[in-house]
Symmetry: C2
DNA sequence: TAAATATATTCCTTGACAGGAATATTCTCC
DNA sequence: GGAGAATATTCCTGTCAAGGAATATATTTA
């Protein structure tokens, strides 16, 4: 899954809004369509694009599907964006470095 | 400048590559066209889109234009992405919280 | 001033994609 | 099993964006 897939999935206004909605809580297709004031088929189609991009997943609940965000693409975007941080964070003083290293260690320990 | 503008600017493969290139160093239009193996007019057009999205700026140097990245849209994306961090960083232990608060204080002091 | 270089712009064509409408599929409940 | 609800899919149409080719604009150099 490459970046342009994720980015073009997010570039469509309705899909971006869907993602914003799902950030707060998982939702069914109908609920999403209601919130965005779009018709159900469009909601389904947008969700399909998001799903193919790996950005959402769903659980089947009777004849409804409950969609929620997946973390991986956001992690990927974050990783990509990290590479650009030194464009605007040119200044690293000692305390900053110390805290960042310490933070990394803590995160690493939490993975186990 | 809203997010979808930035995202659709980045969603095009050639433009994403241009951004990746400019991350390393500023470049002229011709150099960009060479690197991406595209024709000069397409490079100009893509740069125009990136410029309208506020992602690049240029300095005029004789009859050449030297393009470089602007930091603002990346800051904006980073800010947007921050809102999604708790999707995958669900676990906050005490040490984590302590360090994050401390980090915020440090950043705030650096702004002055 | 003429030629050459670097870049931007315009026009045209083609392909992708979003929305509308209708329909198919799947499940629940009576 | 039939009706209704929730969701997915298909077909159609219009719009928009990217690439190609040609041209315009600006700047340097001879």
């Amino acid at each position: 899954m490459d970046y342009t897939t994720i980015l073009s999935a997010l570039a469509e206004p309705n899909r971006l809004q869907i993602v914003e909605l799902l950030r707060k809580s998982p939702l069914t297709v109908g609920e999403i369509a209601d919130h965005l004031d779009i018709r159900q088929p469009q909601a389904s189609k947008h969700l399909r694009v998001l799903h193919k991009a790996g950005m959402v997943e769903f659980t089947v609940e009777a004849n409804r599907r409950i969609y929620k965000l997946r973390s991986e693409p956001f992690k990927a975007l974050d990783l990509w964006l990290k590479e650009y941080r030194d464009i605007w964070e040119e200044k690293f003083d000692n305390l900053d470095c110390y805290l960042q290293d310490l933070q990394k260690k803590v995160n690493k320990e939490n993975e186990n």
